[in-house]
């Protein structure tokens, strides 16, 4: 199978959907000629023209609000938010408007909109261009949240997001844009709410999201050298969350670590760990561990920034402790 970059996969997904459905259009800052600073959307304006690939002023609340209104009235906008950190600028339009229009109208209105943005630290971009804020939107009922972990997922999840009749926020890992993965030439969709078992194992379950799927896989390689068999699960979407696949895995392995690049406190890791503890408690042989980003703003200095995110070595070490039974009475 051919291998393409995550960037190319997103581009293909959007182009295919824009060819299929004339109501799909793109808007955001520098999406047209510039193709975004990451060049993910390069070439789309040449094919679809400036009406469907619409450059906006630097007015995030305004153009996200415009996307909501367009989605309410027969269009299917893909709104590009250049950095995930800018979510704080658009929270009213996303969380008070897009997320609630369907419910507040008793199901008579709906918002088929995709907000594509990114997450991920270690790009030396400091505290306002490095955050992983998906937990914020996952907290709000009415939004769906997709976290592609490779080019394959990026394409399939984006196509599904565009066809979903609800507002979907899709976070790409900005450090993975140039990472290649096998992607079929033919069309495919990836269903929401269906986790992917990346690697089967029997001793411990590593649940990783987005960028942390790679970290979990590398940790599993390290653990294999020690004779520990780790199962790696990528939920692919956190809203909806495929609880069943996760629980089935933990019932088998009896141990779990949840790894996510959002801040550890009050985040995705806590949510998934809690569901495991509530629903698979009697199967557990060790406390479920959370590994998120440190609860600090992301620092610029490379010497500091690299300390803030989970690494394969750290995950492997915690997994060894779990398997060795060292987590009891550890406090």
């Amino acid at each position: 199978m051919r291998e393409i970059t995550l960037s190319k996969a997103v581009n293909e997904a959007i182009a295919e959907e824009m060819r299929r459905d004339p109501n799909v259009f793109l808007l955001g800052e520098d999406v047209a000629e510039a193709g975004t600073p990451f060049k993910v959307l390069a070439g789309l304006v040449e094919e679809f023209g400036p009406k469907r690939v619409l450059d906006t002023p630097i007015s995030e609340p305004g153009f996200v609000g415009i996307a909501v209104g367009a989605a309410l009235t027969g269009s299917r906008p893909i709104v590009d938010l250049m950095f995930g950190d800018f979510l704080f600028l658009v929270m009213d339009q996303l969380c008070n408007q897009a997320a609630k229009a369907c419910y507040m109208s008793g199901g008579k209105l709906n918002v088929p909109m995709v907000l594509r943005t990114n997450l991920g630290a270690t790009r030396r971009s400091a505290a306002q261009h490095s955050q992983s804020l998906h937990a914020l939107v996952a907290h709000i009922p009415g939004l769906k949240v997709a976290l592609p972990s490779s080019a394959y997922e990026a394409k399939g999840l984006m196509k599904t997001a565009i066809r979903d009749n609800n507002p979907v926020v899709i976070f790409e890992d900005k450090l993975m844009y140039q990472d290649k993965a096998p992607v079929p030439e033919g069309e495919y969709l990836i269903p929401f709410g269906k986790a992917n078992i990346k690697r089967e194992g029997r001793d411990i379950t590593l649940i990783g999201t987005s960028s942390m799927v790679q970290v979990a896989e590398k940790a599993a390689d390290l653990l294999a050298r020690d004779g520990i068999s780790a199962e790696v699960i990528d939920p692919r979407t956190i809203v909806p969350l495929d609880e069943e696949t996760i629980l089935a895995s933990v019932r088998k392995t009896s141990r779990a670590i949840v790894i996510d690049e959002g801040h550890q406190s009050y985040g995705i890791t806590g949510e998934i760990a809690s569901r495991i503890s509530e629903k698979a408690f009697y199967y557990l042989d060790a406390p479920v561990l959370r590994m998120g980003a440190m609860d600090v703003p992301v620092p610029f200095s490379p010497a500091l920034e690299d300390l803030t995110v989970p690494t394969p070595e750290a995950v492997a070490e915690r997994a060894r402790q779990s398997v060795r039974g060292e987590l009891f009475h550890a406090a």
Binding site: P61, F63, G65, S105, L109, R163, N166
Partner: protein
Amino acid sequence: MAAKAAAKTGTQKGAQTGKAPKGNAEDYLRMYRQMARIRAFEDNANQLYLAGKMQGLTHMYSGQEAVAVGICEALTDADKITSTHRGHGHCVAKGADFTAMFCELLGKEEGYCRGKGGSMHIADQSHGNLGANAIVGGSMGIATGAALSAQLRGTDEVTVCFFGDGATAQGIWYEVMNMAALWNLPVIYACENNGYSEYTKTAEIAAGSLTARAEAFGIEAHKVDGQDVLAVNELTTKLVARARKGEGPFFIELDTYRYHGHHVGDINREYYRAKDEEAQWKTDRDPILNFGKWLTEQGVVTEDDLVAMNDEIRADAEAAVAYAEAAAYPGGHEVDMHVYVDSPELDAALRGQTAA
């Protein structure tokens, strides 16, 4: 795009202020009826609240009827509006029915939003009402996006964005006016200046002139007497026709007055608004009384006809209230319905993929 040429600002004079009646009596009577329906609706809603039969927050539209009716009578069902927390008037004017509205106010299953929206989110979506918004200024992006969508889909639909003077303090308005002007969107920003931003005089929260703010973006701006339904309707009709031809966007500032407090619980309000001022607007500038007087003077209708029409409307409203009070609440199983909507075409494609 080039900024629009000379924007026009100045109070528009309508037929009510002197011109002989144009158009036909039917249009006038429909406008009168719609204004009277809004007033009757609000009087009943206020009573429901004061009697403890209605819970939550509600904001009366009484006094501002000529704005909603003058504008909505210039629109078709395909045209869109966005409404506000003070939105009952927009809802009635855009074609809603009393029964489903009172049911919504009381949280009943037969309400327009199945009881999930309530007073602040009430909307008859089937007539192009995109929802009442309880975030001040929250719908400005939505209205502008509806106009962009109309343009992209190649329709001639126009969107009117209703908002109050208080909302002019929200930054999103300036962001979306900029884009609407850049892209010539068919949107009309209708600012109902009722003199008060919640509990504060507009003069204390708004520097400079509101029309000048729109004009700064090259948007043609108008100021009109919001108590004169014909003046509002004449101006809006012209602007809607031009917006359909791609000459939008436009801005209208409508001078009007809110008879009640900010919300129904805002009873003792002399600390920010004098009773004399309220009495003066109600006596001299009431949009329904004055239009009714003009209609009788012009021989369009007799006073007896108007009394009969008002009696009929009041009876309709009371019947709708009685119906709503007796109507059923939604079943508890509806609490987690409508968080998401189904995506049948996507589901079919996914099933096809599994089968393949």
